[in-house]
Symmetry: C2
Subunit: 469 residues, 2 copies
Amino acid sequence: MKKLMLFFTLLIGCFLLNAQDEAVRKSDSVMIKKLFDHHLTASSSYDWLRYLSNEIGGRLSGSVEAEQAVAYTERELKKLKFDRVWLQKVMVPKWVRGTPEFAFIESSPGVTTDIPIAALGGSIATPALGIKAEVVEVKSFEELAALGKRKISGKIVFYNRPMDPTLINTFASYGGCVNQRYSGAEQAAKYGALGVIVRSMNLRLDDFPHTGSMSYGELTEQERIPAAAISTNAAELLSATLALNPKTKLYFKQSCKQLPDVESFNVIAEIKGSTYPDEFIVVGGHLDSWDIGDGSHDDGAGVVQSMAVLESFKALNYKPKRSIRVVLFMNEENGMRGGNEYANQAKRKGEQHIFALESDSGAFTPRGFSFDTSVEMFQKYQKLEPYFEPYLVDHFTFGGSGADIGPLKSESIVLSGLRPDTQRYFDHHHSENDTFSEINKRELELGAAAMSALIYLVDQYGGQLSGVN
Amino acid sequence: MKKLMLFFTLLIGCFLLNAQDEAVRKSDSVMIKKLFDHHLTASSSYDWLRYLSNEIGGRLSGSVEAEQAVAYTERELKKLKFDRVWLQKVMVPKWVRGTPEFAFIESSPGVTTDIPIAALGGSIATPALGIKAEVVEVKSFEELAALGKRKISGKIVFYNRPMDPTLINTFASYGGCVNQRYSGAEQAAKYGALGVIVRSMNLRLDDFPHTGSMSYGELTEQERIPAAAISTNAAELLSATLALNPKTKLYFKQSCKQLPDVESFNVIAEIKGSTYPDEFIVVGGHLDSWDIGDGSHDDGAGVVQSMAVLESFKALNYKPKRSIRVVLFMNEENGMRGGNEYANQAKRKGEQHIFALESDSGAFTPRGFSFDTSVEMFQKYQKLEPYFEPYLVDHFTFGGSGADIGPLKSESIVLSGLRPDTQRYFDHHHSENDTFSEINKRELELGAAAMSALIYLVDQYGGQLSGVN
């Protein structure tokens, strides 16, 4: 009889627990719906982005625009009356593009066609009068090595491996190509090339050259050669022209240069946790951008979405249990100084960071989140997917988060990235075509809403999601 | 011992069956990957759409452009050497817009602001000199009824209920608003209104008026009043102006008219089934569009995606078991004559249609499919989701397909619709902003690839998916 009593007690206990779970899940769902409603009707994100993009513009590290963006976002965050808003000093590289680049294809002596070109970030200038030389087209470093010094010395190397159109995730296509841009000059210089031209990292055929960071690796200053990207249409033209006449020459001229580091800032706002003030949750994006567009998708969107997460908590009068910080990182594009500095200071102060979320993949319709954590913990996060199903943001993937939060990585933190639809991203990325006019307000807001929902859930259950089952 | 033998035989049988299932699933997955690869690298869909949109343009039923589109798609389908390509005659209404509409707000006598306006499809003209009258703003038919004849007679009714921004599926927001456009004139005429102005069905604030079909219901010709849409920005301006001065007047003039029906065509191409030639699978979109854009999203996309399904089967040398038809329907927008005629003829000829798929929701990234069938059959179709997961088109939903295939509905057919991302659709729908420049090539191709994969699976397993478990 006693056993039977115990059995029934347990049964009822289980039932009550389940009923309680159910009630909690329901109240979480109600909160998440409120967050989405808020973002879709009353968010400041689109207006903030309009200001960053149209009133300020491209925000390359060390530029006046980057400093304006620091001041603007600090001012806006202060208006929202968070517990703390401050600037975190960080020294950043200052690379400047100089006068506009210029390039043409010379298919036969005196017969030229101008093509759109942009110096790669970190590249040196050409000589003042530019470079004109024959062109060697390659698709890989292996091909380059096979050609060797004899065929390459004194020429311009043209990297023309296109992004793979059959990959559904365009970031994977990008990953399969970007070594041409990042290390192309370093590799080609070894064989005596005079300069390097890279096909833009873009799946579409168009007329926008796409810049981006590059590195000379271990090359001395004397060994360095100038590097630039040309548009995909120009790459097709150059390749076709070379097929007709292998003696075709390319001319290009650029006057970019690297100046001494300058002072800049991460911008940080914090709501102090009511129950666990010493546990920190970070949500962020990067404030700097390239200079040739206005950086709306990369990464103005991530900046304003992160600000909007805290704005929505304030608007709904939600008091987080844990301390939540918006961090607007400086210098993601060409140095990662902001991300490194934030992580260093967090470590130095012994701040316990439990979760960090970055949005740095454009303002397109959110499809899910990625998680950089253990397999076991990822499986636990997958249990949150049902909360996101009504909003079609339920595609959770294993691995990857964001460049700026990467340095926070440790065993005790879960890193995450917002994963929007990727199809259009590289039409804009690092080009003149990354502008506010290409932002869809609802898509931007849906991303911020999804981020708010995830941050809310982590705040409720902790970075290890205790109690989620 | 015998029993044991039987047990092992069964066990091995099950294992072999499972292994076979597994092998079949794998070969299906390989075929689907080939289809996606084909569409992302070698499809004609984007070029076809460029021609339909830029060389032909808006294809309103009965227009020269609609006939050009019939001739063009017939020609292109014939080039692909399907078993049969033919035109199916259908009489269609011919409504013409006439000279451009014109409208202004008169906030006080002589103080006017021009606003963008477009007559609704099917509306009558205003008197030659236009209509100028005071305006009554309402949000619903209930509000209209409450105001009654005394307040409405002699005035222009302005329907200004916006699309609900908190719904994630924007088609649901559209559904909650479109009665203002479709029945607004019929309702307002009963109370003696002189004309009707409708806020455009658009979630965004912009300057494009969005047209679309409307009906006078049972009203006699004498009772009918002119109806037009104004842009969302204009609706906001008119509403704000009315708040300041309720005596504000609106002027509008339009010269549209309904002409006698004319002959047009559905365009049909067929690959004959190798095993079950008498079972028909339909894939289609509608060839007509509104006149003020070029109908790229609505529904040039669906047309070229459907054509591309058969093109991909040809290119991969896939011989379908069942007969597959591409049907390009005429007159979806203002009459549905093509869809009705196709279904009538299918019925008359006793053709056994087992599955029909329509793409008519724009060329955006595909997210999944909807299915109009029984709950049990829908659950069976959900078992196909894993095939679509690698392509992120795995969101299958219950209910709804496409307007043109609706008339085929019966107990023995499964109807389905491609479901792309909906966030941007109503920025373009029925407006001057539905143009080829707003089409992303990859998104268009991914939709066609997903459609091909679904048609392939239905061809393999039949409309009832026998053998799928």
